[in-house]
């Protein structure tokens, strides 16, 4: 059987940054396995600007950002396989792989970094009544068609969901000559960035209809119109508010799900809230030697954070192979009162770095609130926040020195502004 010290599953920004960091940490024998025809992952279809402000201090497009990492992987001569899919990972870290160059083979890895990214929530998960005509696409599929294949799916568009991919596609299709009639969002607020609402919708007078959803789809064979209706606080359509909008295309931008079938087959424990693996501060999963980073771990909105997190996973994987860190005292992290989850889910209070960045999302928007970290009933850090929104991932640094010796759980909460 082919052997490798570190196998990296996925050649997107997470896999690339993990590979670079592992090599910098001294590991030689690394293999990146990517099912697509190019490295770079989803960034290849994200051709708009806005990537890398944190890392490079300039606004790159997705392909430009990816290329900086691809160039380093090439310069370091880190091996990779394209058009090659990992079909299975077993509990002993044996990967079953099929590809153009390899055929069907097995690879024994000493360590694995999971970097498979995420996929879009499909329409089936949404439960929209009406017919199932052609002309309904996920926003990401439309993004690939327009940006990679130069094909415009339609001329009269309605978008359901105000996530950033949907907003970006509203602008993109408008500039390509389509008319975007409306973006409907079932929540009373948008999950997209303010900047995207202004520059992708307001710039083109595209209405954003909040507390509104699609209640019916009409058309035989091909979509002809959709019915929108306002919803009440319980997200139930309000009778009498229906409006029919003729269209030939409906885009669904309704969220992303980490892609974890392989993690499950490897025996990795998943977090019910994130849908990704449960990890420690070193991004180690529940299976020794298996690490996770990027969108497979939890859905990110800034690729800069993906690269940083993946760097940590790559270093940890190299450390695992070269000289294992000895385990110390485990402290669980958990979210409560508005904090939906944390990544990592636990830290090693002895082996951890001096500061570990804990990331999470809140469940609803807050103004004038504060984020708090508690060890039991002792407040160990409080960070005031003018604004918190579910669309923006929060980063909360925890200092090793602040963790009390008798602490076994740190709880993160939102402290709401006094009324």
């Amino acid at each position: 059987m082919k052997k490798v010290q570190l196998a990296i599953v996925g050649g997107g920004p997470a896999g690339l940054a993990a590979a670079i960091a592992a090599r910098e940490a001294g590991l030689q024998d690394i293999l990146i396995i990517e099912r697509g025809e190019a490295l770079g992952g989803i960034l290849n279809q994200c051709i708009h600007a806005g990537f890398g402000l944190h890392t490079f201090g300039q606004e790159l497009t997705g392909p430009e950002y990816a290329q900086r990492f691809i160039d380093r992987v090439e310069a370091m001569k880190i091996p990779y396989l394209l058009g090659t899919m990992v079909l299975d990972i077993n509990e002993n870290k044996v990967l079953t792989v099929t590809g153009r160059e390899t055929g069907l083979i097995q690879i024994q890895a000493e360590a694995i970094v999971l970097a498979m990214g995420c996929r879009e929530r499909p329409r089936g998960a949404l439960n929209i009544p009406g017919t199932r005509p052609a002309g309904i696409y996920s926003a990401g599929t439309a993004q690939r068609l327009v940006n990679m294949e130069g094909y415009l799916p339609g001329k009269n568009v309605v978008i359901l969901g105000s996530g950033d991919i949907g907003l970006i596609m509203a602008r993109r299709m408008t500039l390509e000559g389509a008319k975007v009639h409306a973006v409907a969002e079932v929540m009373p607020y948008s999950g997209g960035l303010k900047r995207n609402i202004v520059q992708c919708l307001d710039d083109f007078n595209i209405p954003l209809l909040l507390s509104t959803t699609v209640v019916d789809i009409q058309g035989q064979g091909h979509i002809e119109s959709v019915t929108l209706a306002q919803v009440d606080e319980r997200r139930k359509p309000i009778p009498g508010t229906e409006q029919v909008i003729p269209c030939d295309t409906l885009l669904l931008s309704v969220g992303l799900l980490p892609e974890n079938e392989l993690s499950l087959s490897a025996g990795v424990a998943l977090d019910g809230v994130t849908g990704g693996p449960v990890v420690g501060d070193d991004l180690a999963t529940s299976v020794p030697g298996v690490f996770a980073c990027g969108n497979v771990l939890h859905v990110h909105d800034l690729v800069d954070f993906v690269s940083e997190e993946a760097g940590r996973a790559g270093r940890s994987a190299a450390e695992y192979v070269l000289h294992r860190r000895s385990a110390g005292r485990t402290v669980a992290l958990r979210g409560s009162s508005g904090v939906r989850y944390t990544v990592p889910q636990h830290i090693d209070a002895d082996a951890m770095a001096d500061t570990v960045t804990v990331r999470f999302r809140v469940g609803q928007p807050y103004r004038g609130a504060a984020l708090c970290a508690w060890a039991g009933d002792k407040l160990i850090r409080r960070i005031p926040k003018r604004i918190l929104t579910p669309g923006e991932m929060e980063s909360f640094p925890i200092r090793k020195a602040d963790i009390p010796a008798d602490c076994d759980t740190i709880t993160f909460t939102v402290e709401e502004a006094a009324q």
Binding site: N44, T61, P63, N147, R172, L175, E176
Partner: protein, 116 residues
């Protein structure tokens, strides 16, 4: 004259009101920090945008492109049109000029991907 706009500087999204007299912003209110003031002054007088898109190459392949820097917002559709008319030849690399001085803006359109 006053104009309402949403600041894009951070997720606060402050609702700004700019007072404009003779084409000059004389006052900005509603901002929480200085960035909101700067944004309103620029956005009301000379709004600028980076435009990205795709161009079909002479050999039929698609390549992503951008304006190298911001161009005036009112040129957005003209620039998108120019993307549709260009037919550049391979090879192209990140930063190579695909359209020089697009629509008289003085800004070049450059490739954002590599095509050998």
């Amino acid at each position: 004259m006053t104009r309402q706009l949403t600041c894009i500087g951070c997720p606060m999204g402050c609702q700004l009101t700019a007072t404009i007299e003779n084409g000059v912003v004389t006052e900005v209110t509603g901002n929480t920090c200085k960035r909101g003031d700067d944004y309103a002054r620029k956005e009301c007088v000379a709004p600028m945008r980076t435009i990205t898109g795709t161009v079909r190459m002479a050999d039929g392949r698609v390549i992503s492109v951008r304006t190298r820097t911001d161009v005036p917002k009112e040129k957005m559709f003209d620039v998108a049109d120019a993307f549709n008319r260009a037919r550049p030849k391979a090879p192209l690399h990140i930063g190579d000029v695909v359209i020089a001085d697009v629509c008289g803006t003085g800004v070049d359109v450059v490739a954002t991907a590599n095509r050998e």
